[in-house]
Point group: C2
Chain length 333, copies 2
């Protein structure tokens, strides 16, 4: 099977594109209609750096590789519309494995109404590399630079599960069977917060980031871009119960997973108190838990107050792909 | 230097984005304004498959990796507007080499008025991988499916230079010094035909492809997509004189380089005779040579007529990255 036949067979597994896709896969470029402002992002995942066959199935790799880009669009308050996917494939990947990968693409694109309109498939002698580009529409894009003193800092969902799940998948640590499954799911199959991101844009949230590099890193990004001081309260940070269980067994601080673990793909935002109150109500109608974790103040930097009232500076020493070893690193805390 | 500092340092080498880029590199996603229809394409180049350090400089790799995507936009009759660039970087690439690569990005984006609005930079234990995504505007996109019986088949520029240049760069063969430089330039620094592609759209060309996989492959694509038979004349195919010189010294048919060499990034089009006549005039004003190479007829397939009048079927056995060995292949003909 040559490149053209392979692409045809694989794209045949994807849903029929929406009407705004005038030309999808198969010409020199795709042709689409979309409404400005447009939001665009790209992400690359490399085997041995971002995943291993032992830590993710081919299906979930397909799902997750696009989910991380969809999450970036969610963090702008946008709606994902179009995706392009490039693969560098090592020897040993057969059509069956690629089919699984594309079935994962299918799930994420179907769920978020986003069409795969193009891509590239090439061979490599090195590790598997997948690069995803997602283009979305965002009527009112939310930047990370809009936070103001007095804003409430909030997060969606529960944190720490993805990095704890990676440890479980590597067999390094153990929690209950149900806990293992939940944590592994958080690592392999993250849920981009598109609906609540869109709500944030409609309601007027000031600043928004998705938590790809750990809460500490994202807080520092908002602080630096918005020129505000972020003050968070340790006991308000929502950590998954299974992460706490795992942390207890390892005698480490569970907050480490939330602050420095990364890849949770929840949203971190800043909003005036009245806007935050409206968001809480609206988000509860779509069953997305939202929790205040602190406040923005005049100043700079990020500090965390613990239960005793002590303040500690939180550095942006989050999950940084570029500084890491080429092996999946389990020692991120 | 961590990922964030590195990206900042590298993107600092790029030109200031145009006004339609509301947010460039630095947030979860870029924010831009553009007019539909939009055209979008992505390409991946892998060290050892598509290039070697001995066949291309880091500067030209930056230039060429974006040029191949810009060429796809040209082949739609579009204007490139925005680019996203992802790199998987092996150990040993320092900031200096990456700076050279970005200087190459700078040249191609400046020349075509296209802004780098985002990207990703990750590490890899394997070969260097660069993935480029280019988004353009195309008021009247030209598909490969629009050719009709009676249309003139034409190409821009001269063919065969890129694959011959690769042989020169690998030291496999020799031509005159000036010839070597010209052929190497064709391989390392292709010229996307954006202006003439745009002219084709304005004037009403029926079908257009860029010649990335060799003329034989592109003819077969137009034939299959448009349901026409393509009849080309061997003596009308414009082959670079330096390619002919090289072919003579190797005692091979120079047409092989044009038909199966690939990576020339010239345009192949089909247009009614009156449209073709107008295109000839318009293209000569911007100094782009255009040459008729044959005609479309009712039927299917691609045939070539040689000087004696004999017809030979031309198969689409062009340059196919997926079927090739992982080493750069010199034996493509």
């Amino acid at each position: 099977m040559d490149e053209f036949q392979l692409i045809k067979s694989l794209t045949g597994r994807l849903p029929t594109p929406h009407q705004d896709v005038q030309v999808g896969v198969g010409d020199d470029a795709a042709v689409v209609r979309a409404t400005s402002p447009l939001v665009m992002t790209t992400d690359t995942m490399v085997e041995g750096v971002h995943f291993l066959p032992t830590t993710i199935t081919d299906y979930n790799l397909g799902y997750k590789s696009l989910a991380v880009s969809v999450s970036d669009i969610a963090a702008m308050g946008g709606k994902p519309r179009f995706a392009l996917v490039s693969l560098a494939i090592p020897p040993g990947w057969d059509e069956n494995r690629l089919g699984q990968l594309y079935d994962g693409f299918r799930e994420i694109t179907e769920r978020f109404g986003c069409d795969v309109i193009g891509g590239d498939v090439v061979s490599t002698s090195g590790p598997f590399v997948v690069t995803t580009t997602v283009i979305g529409e965002a009527e009112r894009p939310i930047l990370r630079s809009g936070a103001q003193p007095g804003d409430v800092l909030f997060v969606t969902g529960m944190l720490g599960g993805s990095s704890a799940g990676l440890e479980v998948l590597q067999g390094i640590t153990s929690v209950s069977h149900i806990g293992q499954a939940l944590l592994a799911q958080r690592h392999q199959h993250p849920e981009p917060r598109v609906a609540v991101g869109h709500l944030c844009a409609e309601i007027g949230v000031h600043a928004l980031n998705d938590i790809s590099d750990g809460l500490a890193s994202e807080l520092n990004e908002i602080s630096a871009a918005s020129h505000v001081r972020c003050v968070v309260h340790a006991e308000q940070i929502p950590v998954m119960p299974e992460v706490k269980e795992l942390a207890r067994s390892k005698r480490v601080n569970p907050l480490g997973y939330a602050l420095y673990g990364g890849e949770d793909y929840e949203l971190l935002g800043a909003a005036p108190p009245r806007v935050f109150a409206r968001l809480l109500t609206a988000a509860s109608m779509i069953n997305v838990p939202i929790r205040q974790i602190g406040r923005c103040e005049a100043g700079d930097g990020v500090v965390m107050r613990d239960e005793t009232g002590r303040l500690a500076v939180i550095e942006a020493k989050g999950y940084n792909h570029f500084k890491r070893d080429t092996d999946v690193d389990t020692d991120r805390l």
